[in-house]
Amino acid sequence: MSARHRIPGITATATTDLPVLKPFNAKASGHDDIGFCRFLANLSPQTIFLFVFVVALWPIAALAQAKYTLGDAFDALWKWIPFLVTKGFALNILISFLTMAIGTFAGVLLGLWQISPNRAVRKFAWAITQTFRNSPWLVLLFIVMLAFPFEVSIGGLTIPIPDWMKAVFGLSLPIMANISEVVRGAIQSVPTGQWEASESLAFSRRQVLWQIILPQCFKRMIPPWMNWYAILTMATPLVSLLGVEEIVTLSRQAMEGEDNHPELLIPFYGFCLVIFFVYCYPIARWTISLERKFSVKL
């Protein structure tokens, strides 16, 4: 019996994992870098379909007498789906891609400024980050929408800026601020010993950052980055409030085209819920598997 040879405190050092408080594993908030994806990935795919199904069934009794049945409403939805997906949801995806690209570029820059040796730069970057992280996305959208001109002229060339492009700028601001925090957090998670060791080897600060620190934390940034992409995609319907013709706006127009029967509301909005879920779910699963893979190696 091998246990006999290891007697804690006598033949071996006493080991302990003091259970004062176990780690807090909220799958909920900003505390977990990839909380949103973790949650999404843990869903069973049936759940949301089941829910939509139940919600759709519930009012059927109430509508049984009506001339326009829920069945007719689903027929109408079926007719509109190709249009809603190719014209509406495709724009949501385009907006999410462009926003993520701009937001990431600006966010990385801002994040690096946040750890700048220059105090003024650091403070400035911190203030910008906090401002845009803490303001409601919708307010930022409205402001950008109104503050941006309809068109810009560059050397006699007039380029019109469509509404959806302005929406991209508006959504980029909070994404930038949050990516900035991701970058700062990842860099600061590298032990200070790494900085000291490389500085003692006469690397310059820039070299330390780009050749030693960033390669180490690059992988660590990917899962939270993807988490923000999923959150952003879920936020794109906000731009419908500004008249951008994405899926929610087009759904509304389609319902008008079908004479605004109240029976249409559940199928159409339900479809919006489902399509976002279908798009984000694989991303969430992928994020989780990446996170698991990277956390083992690091």
Binding site: M1, A3, R4, H5, R6, I7, P8, G9, I10, T11, A14, T16, L18, P19, V20, L21
Partner: protein, 251 residues
């Protein structure tokens, strides 16, 4: 409460053929022992031999599958058992201290008498301050557990149990999680308790301490009591080969 005919001359804790399984794994395969008032008992044995499980059973933290444990004549293995009555009589100290981290040392000690026994606050506080002195932690009354060392936390935990004025104290490997330097301060506290006549049951790996303080030593292995006896004969004249092997490894 069933009226018991228990008197102080009967065993304080009397276990008879205790069996306990976790699923398919049988951890206790018939443990019997009697502990008289004022005795100090040490249970030793290799890891996984069931010693901790056994003393947790005395406090009804783990229910037993068969056999009987009587504490002052009261059957612990009784579904009708009033756990509050049992736990007023039996204090327990854990390996990991398990202090309440959001309360100060003094509040930790006062909590159970105030909330469970509904005793008067001024009286409880006076007693708690005495206990703090007794475990030599004067001045640490208002420290939080997170601000104390392991040994200090463990002494607060002992004081916390004593505040309930138990008749029996159970110590479950209370020094196993401590640094070697702080083990001693905790053992001193326990020894004083034993010398004052508190009935103590310890699960421990501190052989030197067991030898000095215990009245009786039980050696358990694989769920049974292999051998027991007073420390003098136990450490020098062990008969069973398993006991001999265990002792040869640690002494």
């Amino acid at each position: 409460m069933a009226t018991s005919t228990w008197t102080e001359k009967d065993p304080m804790v009397s276990a008879t053929d205790v069996h306990k399984s976790f699923g398919d794994l049988e951890v206790l395969k018939g443990i019997s022992m009697d502990v008289m008032k004022g005795e100090c008992i040490c249970i030793i044995g290799p890891s996984g031999s069931g010693k901790s499980t056994f003393i947790r059973c005395i406090n009804a933290l783990n229910p037993i599958n068969a056999g009987s444990i009587l504490v002052e004549g009261q059957e612990v293995n009784d579904p009708q058992l009033d756990k509050l009555e049992l736990r007023k009589k039996v204090g327990m100290v854990f390996q990991q201290y398990n202090l309440f981290p959001h309360k100060t040392a003094l509040e930790n000690i006062m909590m159970a008498p105030l909330k469970v026994l509904k005793q008067e606050k001024s009286e409880v506080e006076a007693r708690a301050r005495d206990l703090i002195k007794k475990v030599r932690l004067d001045g640490k009354e208002d420290s939080y557990p997170g601000e104390l060392s392991g040994g200090q936390q463990q002494r607060v935990a002992i004081a916390r149990s004593l505040a309930m004025r138990p008749d029996v104290m159970l110590f479950d490997e209370v020094t196993a999680a401590l640094d070697p330097e702080t083990v001693k301060e905790v053992l001193v506290t326990i020894r004083e308790l034993a010398e004052e006549g508190m009935t103590c049951i310890l699960v421990t790996h501190e052989m030197g301490f067991a030898r000095e303080v215990a009245n009786h030593i039980y050696f358990t292995d694989r769920g049974i009591i292999v051998e027991h006896g007073p420390p003098k004969t136990f450490f020098t004249k062990a008969k069973d080969p398993r006991t001999k092997e265990f002792l040869s490894q640690i002494l």
